[in-house]
C-alpha cells in the first residue's frame, strides 16, 4: 500500500518538476530571442528560436499546473487552500499571461515580419522574476506546517 502511494507521489513530482523545467526552458528561449533581436547580426537567429519557444511554453505551463494541482490533491499534507499553493497558482496565472503575450508577439514577427515589440525585454525580465518568485515559493513553502 505504502509502496504504491509513494510511487504515485514520486511519479507526479517528476512530471511536475519536468514540466516546470520545460517552462523555464521556454522562458530561456524567450530571453534569448529578445537578446538576439537587440543586434541586427542576430535578428534572423532570434526568429528561428521562436517556433520552439511557442511550443514549449504552453505545454510546460499547462502540464506544470495540472501535475501541481494533482500533487496537492494526491497528498494529504497538501491542500489547495494552503497559502503557498494559492500564491503559486496566482504567480502561474501572471507568468502564463506574460509568456502567452511574448509567444504571440514573436509568432507575429515570424509570420508577418512585423517589427519586434520594444517592451519585449521588459516583459522577459518580468517573466524571469515571476518564475524566480514561484521557485522560491515552491522551495520555502511559506506558511506550510
Amino acid at each position: 500500500m505504502y509502496g504504491r502511494r509513494r510511487m504515485g507521489y514520486s511519479t507526479l513530482l517528476f512530471l511536475h518538476v519536468t514540466s516546470a523545467f520545460t517552462m523555464v526552458t521556454a522562458a530561456g528561449l524567450f530571453l534569448a530571442i529578445a537578446l538576439a533581436q537587440r543586434s541586427d547580426r542576430h535578428s534572423a537567429t532570434a526568429l528561428r528560436l521562436a517556433p520552439v519557444a511557442a511550443v514549449l511554453w504552453p505545454i510546460g505551463s499547462l502540464l506544470a499546473i495540472v501535475f501541481g494541482v494533482w500533487l496537492a490533491l494526491h497528498d494529504s499534507q497538501y491542500s489547495l487552500g494552503d497559502g503557498w499553493i494559492i500564491a503559486a497558482i496566482v504567480l502561474w496565472v501572471i507568468g502564463g499571461a506574460i509568456g502567452g503575450r511574448l509567444g504571440a508577439g514573436y509568432r507575429k514577427v515570424t509570420s508577418s515580419g512585423a517589427a519586434a515589440d520594444p517592451s519585449a525585454l521588459v516583459m522577459n525580465l518580468a517573466l524571469i522574476v515571476t518564475l524566480l518568485v514561484m521557485l522560491i515559493d515552491m522551495i520555502y513553502k511559506p506558511g506550510a506546517s
Binding site: R6, Y9, T25, L29, D75, L135
Partner: protein, 153 residues
C-alpha cells in the same frame, strides 16, 4: 509511515540554488541545442549567426549555470549529512552531473572552435558534434531530474 515533505529551513537556500542552477543549465543547453540544430538546417549568414549564438550560449550561460548547480548540490548534501551516502539516486546525480560536465565542456570547446575557425560559414563537422552533444546532455538531464525526484533505491 510519513513522507518528509517539509524540510528544515536551513536546507532551503542551497536547494533553491541547486534547483535554480539546474533549471538555468537545462534552459541554456536547450537554447544552444535549438540554435545549433537550426543552424544545421540553415545556410549562409543565418547558419553562421546561429552557430555563433549556440556556441556562446554554451560558454557564457551553460557552464556558469553548471557551477551554481554543482556547488549547491554539494552544499545540500552536506546540510543533509549525506556526503558519504551510497544511495543510488545520489550516485545517479553525480553520474549525470560529472559525466555531463565533461560532455558540456567538449560541446562548448568544439562549438566555439568551429566559430573561431570559420566564423562566416555554416556549422561544419565540429559544431555538428557540439549540436549532437547538446542533445545528449538534455537526455542526461531528464534522467537526472527523474533520479532526483523519484529517488530510486
Amino acid at each position: 509511515m510519513t513522507v518528509l515533505l517539509i524540510r528544515p529551513d536551513s536546507w532551503n537556500l542551497p536547494l533553491l540554488l541547486h534547483v535554480g542552477g539546474a533549471m538555468a543549465l537545462v534552459a541554456s543547453v536547450t537554447v544552444a541545442a535549438v540554435a545549433l540544430l537550426q543552424g544545421w538546417r540553415a545556410s549562409g549568414p543565418a547558419a553562421a549567426s546561429l552557430k555563433r549564438f549556440g556556441a556562446r550560449t554554451l560558454l557564457y550561460a551553460a557552464i556558469p549555470s553548471y557551477f551554481v548547480m554543482r556547488i549547491a548540490a554539494q552544499w545540500v548534501l552536506s546540510k543533509e549529512g549525506l556526503d558519504n551516502s551510497n544511495a543510488a539516486w545520489i550516485g545517479d546525480g553525480f553520474l549525470a552531473a560529472d559525466a555531463g560536465f565533461v560532455l558540456l565542456v567538449i560541446a562548448a570547446i568544439v562549438a566555439n572552435l568551429a566559430v573561431r575557425r570559420d566564423p562566416e560559414s555554416g556549422l561544419g563537422k565540429l559544431a555538428k558534434v557540439g549540436a549532437g552533444l547538446s542533445v545528449v546532455l538534455i537526455a542526461l538531464y531528464v534522467f537526472a531530474v527523474w533520479a532526483m525526484t523519484t529517488k530510486p533505491t
